[in-house]
Symmetry: C2
Subunit: 500 residues, 2 copies
């Protein structure tokens, strides 16, 4: 007779397989599925979601969980077994609190909301989307209700993406960060601006693809365990520990898009490829949280990929690929171009200095909506006034304003903060890495990323979801999530570029 | 409260989804999966197979089946409801007779046998494969045992691929066919031989691809509901009624491979794309049998794709694509080339006149192995003596002999006959079609395939698996499976080509 923990692991392996399978179906849908396959693919994903929920909440599973608990008590609380049990118990408790009817309703409402959102964008008509948004908000409030008592109604929503983190903690972090970001942008705006016209030329798609592949191969992306395809929106997805795929999007008239998105997704993928094989087919074979995940993608995209030493190596190669476009553009001009700061309307196109302000705005808006302080009909006004306050610009229409992000239409509320937290955490890692690898810049200048990747694997990747996000940051850096290293990083970098 | 038949349909929809999902995973494995993803993919497919078996054999499902039976009694026996129930009941009865332990063992043995088979081929060493083959045979005998009493031990195996068909029926059909095939080959060998050197030149892969796409687009393949990719071995797979994909393999030094394989797979795909939408997510959304499926692929590949009228339209287009290679080759020479008859060692490369003899040999060998008449150690001898008898040639080694096919290593015994039956049935359809569409050849000469496809959809495709193979042939042609139309077709075609 197998012990209960082993039996629990067998059940979890089956569930994890079903989750990977759902990821394969979604990947295929985004990459290669013929157009008319969508309806049936939706049915299949629905069947899988139902099976996963059924398996995770069955009385048999509940009983197994109780029995395994006794065995786990004998393990070190930091052991994989104890952590696996803790994460599983948490997920179970969350799932049984919410009736499965709720998930069906959310899924149907979101499917409809997504279609409505697309139409509303096309017609630049917020009122068209508003009823859907209101339904989503009502449903997410209902979700929070299942988790009463809570300290803040936004807590259960945030917890979906950032396990364990509380709303007031995020608010405290952002309150500390905000004035520095606003001041930085003011400093920059008082200096002569940089040029990035060289980036906006025609760049052959195939060559862009090849350059991206060259870069991430150097980063250490393992093509035996992954691949890259093209999709409308880049993403990373895992079908197991040895099949982690990324996608990219290539714009022929702007070299920055594919270049940084490929590095960004590679950062996510390196994380998932670095999980300890002992975590295979368990819920621990996952990122610690979305913020930790984003800290990996941002680290490779920004701290490595937008750094001067990186381009000391790669710029001559890029020039050789595009001699007509870049032959006469100096490394300094190019470097400044890819780091140009300018308040802009669209979050996903924002530079490092302004990006987090887009996030703070969204967090405030979401909390106002969920807490009921803000009636959805006044959302555009609040959006615009905050844009004016933080970035000094006002969207000329809804599509470039509150209708720009897909998240709400998917039913995701509580997601955005993880982007900014990822930025902050990436700088915390970077500070620790620079301490441990004093010649890091020299290595990057040689396109040697082995020691860097080794550090990330050892300190972060291998643990998977064993530790919650905050706990992991604390363990590795000795401090909780803090905006200070990021503020220092921005000050130093932009001080050099803009001369202050 | 839903009626029981509706409840049964809901259960079946979930099972059908899981089968489609398994097909998606396999397709990805053959097309795009990175090499190291294989082990985890195997686990995921195992989880799916287990779930499907669990759902199909659960006590709950068994009870539902019994309850639904009473409702079905009120329906016309030819109605979709009655047939759906019949097919489901049959599958259920088959599944519960066999312990799930058996399937695990077969699956593990096959996985190993496949690896051994690949090695044995590489080393041209039958003895290396023999122990695996013996295990497979023992397991397949065990499978047959679960279906005692049977008329013939081979019946339960054949039934896996050709529901309802009996060994003695296939033997009777082949006994009638054999002397005609042998005589035909003798007739041909006494005439001046045809040349096909023009087919064996360098043909640009991309242009081959484009030509294939042009042809099957004309056939009516719907790219909104399907796609084509490249794999080592071409196949067709369905992920639903609106996502039916094909694959092809392009050889740069032989134009015949991709050309006919694309048409062949398109024939399979048109069948699956033609199922009545009312059959969606039921076990009836499937081919009637492998022979019926093969009759569709062979019809498009051979009766259309190797016909003179077809090339009257398409040959000038092919010449325009490959002026250097084909500019000086006449239509007649090309047509004869693609229909060249020559006894050969490899089944998959055999022409229409010799192909069925390869199959008959295999059927006899399989029956001898399963019935215990033949010790596996004497398989190569029996193989070679039959090759000599039927085709007048003897394989110089094992790889070109009894080791050539993958089927046994996968645990498939009882499969091969369906290939020859498919050929025979394709000619039966053709005879009926020519009666119903008198100007068929003129239409083909104009590359107009709409009426032909319409006929196939109406008579065959839309029914899916509502009728068993033999029953469908009887309903459409008024006769059971018969070799006569195929013999007449071969006699006429090769009489013209070889002048007898």
């Amino acid at each position: 007779m197998k012990n209960k923990l082993s039996q629990l692991k067998s059940s979890l392996a089956e569930i994890r397989d079903l989750q990977y399978i759902a990821a394969i179906l979604s990947w295929d849908q985004e990459t290669y599925m013929p157009p008319q396959g969508a309806r049936e693919r939706g049915e299949q994903l629905g069947t899988l979601a139902g099976l996963i929920h059924e398996r995770f909440t069955s009385p048999k599973f509940a009983k197994l969980l109780d029995l395994a608990e006794k065995e786990v008590a004998a393990h070190d609380p930091d052991s994989t077994e104890a952590r696996l049990f803790k994460v599983t118990r948490r997920e179970f408790e969350k799932r049984i609190k919410v009736p499965s009817r709720y998930y069906q309703e959310l899924s149907q409402t979101s499917a409809l909301a997504y279609e409505t959102w697309k139409k509303a964008r096309e017609e630049d008509d917020f009122e068209k989307f508003r009823p859907s948004l209101e339904k989503i908000i009502a449903l997410r409030r209902e979700y929070a209700d299942y988790f009463r008592p809570y300290e803040h109604i936004y807590d259960p929503l945030l917890d979906e993406f950032e396990p364990g983190l509380k709303t007031k903690e995020v608010q405290a972090i952002f309150d500390e960060l905000r004035p520095h970001q606003v001041a930085l942008i003011r400093q920059i705006s008082n200096r002569p601006q940089v040029e990035d016209t060289a980036l906006h030329q025609y760049f052959d798609e195939q060559k862009q693809w090849e350059f991206g592949v060259e870069v991430i191969t150097k980063f250490g992306y393992d093509w035996q365990r992954g691949r890259q395809d093209k999709t409308a929106h880049p993403f990373t997805t895992s079908f197991g520990l040895n099949d982690v795929r990324i996608t990219t999007r290539i714009l022929p008239d702007y070299i920055g898009s594919a270049l940084f998105s490929t590095m960004h997704e590679c950062g996510h993928a390196l994380y998932e490829l670095g999980f300890d094989p002992a975590l295979a087919r368990t819920p621990l074979a996952d990122g610690a949280s979305l913020a930790i995940h984003e800290s990996q993608s941002r680290l490779w995209e920004n701290l490595v990929g937008r750094s001067y030493p990186f381009w000391e190596h790669f710029y001559p190669r890029l020039q050789a690929l595009f001699p007509t476009q870049l032959g006469n553009i100096s490394l300094e001009t190019f470097y400044k171009g890819i780091n140009k700061v300018a308040p802009s309307l669209i979050r996903v196109e924002a530079d490092e200095a302004t990006y987090n302000l887009h996030i703070m705005l969204r967090l405030e808006v979401e909390i106002a909506l969920i807490s009921g302080e803000l009636d959805a009909r006044h959302l555009p006004d609040l959006w615009n006034s905050k844009m004016k306050e933080y970035l000094g610009i006002v969207p000329p229409n809804h599509t470039l304003g509150e209708l720009q992000d897909v998240h709400w239409s998917h039913g995701y509320i509580g997601y955005f903060a993880t982007y900014a937290l990822g930025n902050l955490i990436s700088a915390q890692w970077w500070q620790a890495i620079q301490r441990d690898i004093p010649d890091l810049n020299d290595q990057i200048r040689q396109a040697e990323f082995g020691e860097l990747l080794g550090w990330l694997r050892e300190k972060i990747h291998r643990h998977g979801a064993k530790f919650e996000g905050q706990e992991l940051v604390q363990r590795v850096t000795g401090s909780g999530i803090s905006p200070k290293p990021y503020i220092q990083y921005l000050q130093k970098k932009y001080g050099e570029i803009y001369g202050f």
